[in-house]
Symmetry: C2
Subunit: 635 residues, 2 copies
């Protein structure tokens, strides 16, 4: 074990109301019931019953439809732990029973392969998603154990894992699944059940990948990270969700096996991808075609794919690296991603979702039908369900267990990583107890109060993360200003019960300029405020103006609501020529700049007021960029 | 008929050597033989033999593999007219015979549908490409007639067309093909054979589209232009090749039926798409995912799809609009597209091709295997063949008949649209003869000489197109400067045989700035010279510098070879933080600017010297864009 910190058990951190508490309530009251409705409605639960019945049947949905039920079971387990409820418990038990009944006698459990009229087991490792689905079942089972839910699922998962070990273990076939996920899931199930062979199997899958065992596909071996072994790769690449789940599994294996080289490889890949291949929202994966990262600094806002599941996988990876290394830089990215790429997915009512999280909507989208799955993972309005519907239940399981990301403990310190209203009652590695309450209006409020509910002994500390954007400007209740390089401020014992520490954070809007290598947003700025990235929608612009028409005056920005009121120049540009828009064939746009104001709101809330255009990055109004002919014959 | 000009027959314009003559020789000696080899090698000709044999067989290639043979037959017909040759004639006759033998008794001819073990005819109009393939057969047959080649193909095509008329004509099923193409092909075959029902059928297909008769697909009805009727649409949208072939067919129908409203719709769509959805290279179609245009001003250089076939289809559409309206703006786009998006496809040796014509290669591509088709239509190095290999034979048929785009005639005028070494001997609408010779070093040379080989009578003229980039700076041999608004300069009779007119064109490099609405290239410039768009490759930069590292100093540009020698600033930027590249989490790139020079070459020649990075648009070095922190906490 090379882990610096351990996560808290669900019983050790109790999240109250407020910003995130409200999201958990939305998850309970809307998102989970919505997903439960849809997995029945589209026949994905029915697939299990059809397998149980033993007759040939028309399989509903994609090859990975099973996994959506498993993610939902994981969400329900966390939710049952958070707030027990008979109705939910009955739904959970019923769903587990229907899944369990479809398990083959040898432990295999998948509704798309291996039964009468279906393709044989493991006959399409590139696209079949069998082991991927197993992984989500393992995660659901591990969640049941950790949440203390009495369920048949751990037994089902263990029997399946034994089958997988026999097929793919050290003495089995030397293959991997086209979609990583089973690796991290095996380690989670290993931790929950203590079975060493699960860790061994996870290690096999990590080591095997990158040697070209998967077949040639249109998108290249990079798509499923089969191009370079995990410990040799320099960055995250290919399909973003696959890359991030794989790296998360690799960290798990590295931590459990004490493999410092493998951990360093994951740190290196994270650093490279985060500093060169990540949107300001935390979104990852630039390309629609193959849902891939793309090259360094290829970060188009209008064609951002930034899949919701990639954001969730990024949080999972960063959290594992935080625990392994103790560095708060990972919590910085978790915060950025949760506030700007995870909760941008659900609609305000929790009954429709973004799969893609674009940073620039040029044309107001259309509303997908509410009564059937969307065939398109595009940036129209949020859709109630998708033919590939990985994102909604992934949001559900993330929100249901969100508190896990807020704090952790090391030998002598309780580490507070995210701020919300919550209590912690835990034991440090040293055996000392820490019991405290965090109260805050964050992200709207500018203060975080930490009150000790029990004494903190002389050898113990509480470490508060200073968000990266607040360093050098945050102030402690003692009057101390947090230094610009300080990731944390540490409150050391001995301190009596009732002692309060208040952290004051700078909550004014701030202007962010892009890295100069990002061609796609050169000359544009983004606005951020607290943990929020802001965006403008045309509904917050004068009538008839779209977000494509404006430039921003960064000298006129003041706070407004959760966002900012900003001076903008409206450019009435329209092309007048017959040539290409960048040729010198007579295009002389008529630019009639007028000055006005726009309201920028937190990005995650966009598209909740009907179809609109939207942008995160806005061109900067600038004397040097003044209106003029678009082109001019040169030397 | 509402056509202003008529095209010349192959016998009326003889293209000599020089820039385009060399390309035609490359086509003859390399591209056509290369394609002939591959359609045999991958079994696509074999499909016809298998159908003829009448036994169930494993079909090779995609559902539209037949069309590649038809495009190749079209290329061979033009080539046999250009320079007769026994070997080529034998190959042609052999290929025609093998195709013809596969025709069903009722005229149907397709190797993917309708035979034993295959799906029924017309059971997959969305993706099956049956009518699309027929269209290419019709074009090949029309080419045989126009080129005067004795062949069985017109008979085969006519029998097939009769079958299609019975199935899809006014009394048949009211359906269209997912991929437009048959519309323009029916009009071509109608013109070649005089059969009125072919025009009627073309009109049916044009009018039917846009009413949602095709099934729902992931990319939406816009993908195959089934969202809005042709005469109501405001712009070109969806899959670029489909949109352009459809519009070309619509112009053909409009011209033949005197439908001014339909023609106006096509003009409107062309104007909108060209001024808002077209790359400086003439490339069309920004998106990889669905090969689609994308939204207005969505023109990312690094993810430009800009398919070779879309460029060819754009030339076909512009040519039809030129003939219909007499406007030289269409010749401007034809020139831009031929020089910068069509001939960028073939490698210098004519044995490998770009499918995608990117404007920015961030990372040096890898060389695809030379002995098997590429599965990827990506911007690595050019590939010898593709699993979807529409582009290579499309290049072949375009080059073989390239002279058609160079001149046309109206009632009293011979119009010269493109410049090369060629002779024209034709008859105007009035009945008057024109016989002349064009001699030029164009595009390298700056002069175009037109010498009358026969007298030009008093009622006749020769009109020379002034390229849009030359207007206001071109000079005639008389000393007259061509005005900035003059599309043409007209040389009016009477003039004696031997009279010479010389046009002097300004051939210095020029700087082009993008339309201010194109976010993706804000702050960047392109260089153009004559008809060429220029690009820089890292092989023309100091060792170790990639095109991602440079900014351009537009004040230091001088001509060099066919390109330019340009002052550039090399920025050694590297990210130093752990945050996203655009967040304020400590990214402070170290920018160490150094001054040097780079050679920009015509874009079409890139990637002929091994893997390289390349860019067309280059950031402009600018005091206001000086090195500094990438981001700074704001107000």
């Amino acid at each position: 074990m090379i882990q610096q910190q351990r996560p808290l058990a669900p019983s050790e951190l109790i999240l109250g109301g407020g910003f995130w508490g409200d999201f958990q309530e939305l998850n309970r009251s809307a998102i989970i019931p919505h997903c439960l409705h849809w997995v029945e409605h589209v026949g994905w639960v029915g697939n299990f019953e059809a397998v149980t019945a033993g007759e040939p049947f028309q399989h509903a949905g994609t090859e990975f439809a099973d996994s959506e039920i498993y993610k939902l079971l994981e969400a329900m387990a966390w939710e049952l732990r958070r707030r027990p409820d008979d109705t939910l418990a009955t739904q959970y038990a019923d769903l587990v029973a229907r899944v369990a009944a479809a398990q083959d006698p040898d432990g295999y459990l998948h509704t798309s392969f291996g039964h009468q009229g279906q393709r044989p087991r493991y006959s399409d490792l590139e696209w079949g998603h069998e082991l991927y689905c197993f992984g989500h079942l393992f995660q659901a089972a591990a969640a049941a154990v950790r949440a203390g839910i009495v369920s048949d699922l751990p037994r089902v998962a263990t029997a399946l894992a034994d089958h997988v070990y026999a097929e793919f273990g050290p003495d089995g076939r030397s293959d991997v699944c086209g979609h990583p996920e089973i690796e991290l899931a095996l380690v989670e199930l290993h931790r929950a059940t203590g079975r060493p062979q699960l860790l061994e199997l996870a290690r096999c899958f990590i080591e095997r990948r990158g040697h070209g065992s998967l077949g040639q596909i249109e998108f290249g071996a990079e798509y499923f990270q089969d191009d370079v072994p995990v410990r040799e790769a320099g960055t995250l690449r290919g399909h973003a969700v696959r890359a991030l789940y794989l790296a998360a599994g690799a960290v798990d294996v590295a931590v459990e096996t004490g493999d410092q080289e493998l951990l360093s490889a994951c740190v290196r890949q994270w650093e490279s991808a985060v500093s060169r291949r990540t949107y300001v929202t935390g979104g990852m994966g630039s390309r629609h075609l193959d849902e891939a990262f793309g090259e360094d600094f290829e970060l188009p806002p209008d064609r951002a794919y930034a899949e919701t599941c990639a954001a969730i996988a990024s949080v999972m990876l960063s959290w594992r690296l935080l625990l392994a290394t103790g560095k708060e830089r990972y919590a910085d990215l978790i915060e950025r991603t949760l506030y700007n790429s995870v909760i941008s997915s659900p609609r305000a009512d929790g009954r429709a979702f973004y799969y893609v999280n674009t940073l620039h909507q040029r044309v107001a989208g259309t509303a997908p039908a509410e009564d059937r799955p969307s065939v398109r993972a595009l940036a129209d309005l949020r859709a109630p369900w998708f033919e590939v519907s990985c994102c909604p239940p992934n949001v559900a399981r993330t929100l249901a267990n969100l508190g896990v990301y807020f704090a952790s403990v090391s030998e002598d310190t309780l580490h507070l990583h995210q701020y919300a209203d919550f209590t912690v009652d835990t034991t440090l590695g040293s055996g000392a107890s820490v019991n405290l309450q965090v109260s805050t209006g964050y992200p709207d409020g500018a203060t975080v109060s930490v009150v000790l509910r029990g004494a903190l002994d002389a050898a113990s500390s509480v470490a508060l993360r200073i968000p990266s954007w607040a360093r050098g400007r945050a102030v402690l209740s003692t009057g101390a200003v947090i230094g610009p390089d300080d990731e944390t401020v540490t409150v050391a014992g001995p301190l009596p019960a009732g002692h309060e520490v208040v952290l004051h954070l700078p909550m004014l809007p701030r202007v962010t300029r892009p890295h100069p290598r990002i061609d796609a947003v050169r000359g544009q700025v983004a606005l951020e405020r607290g943990p929020f990235v802001l965006a403008v929608e045309d509904v917050d612009l004068p009538a008839g103006v779209t977000v494509n028409d404006i430039a921003i005056d960064p000298s006129h920005i003041r706070p407004s609501g959760q966002g900012a009121r900003v001076g903008v120049v409206v450019n009435g540009a329209s092309p007048g020529g017959h040539g290409t828009p960048s040729s010198d064939e007579g295009v002389t746009p008529r630019l009639v700049p007028t000055q006005t104001f726009a309201t920028y709101q937190p990005y995650y809330r966009w598209a909740n007021r009907g179809p609109s255009t939207m942008r995160v990055w806005t061109p900067e109004a600038h004397p040097a960029a003044a209106p003029g002919p678009s082109s001019r014959p040169g030397a």
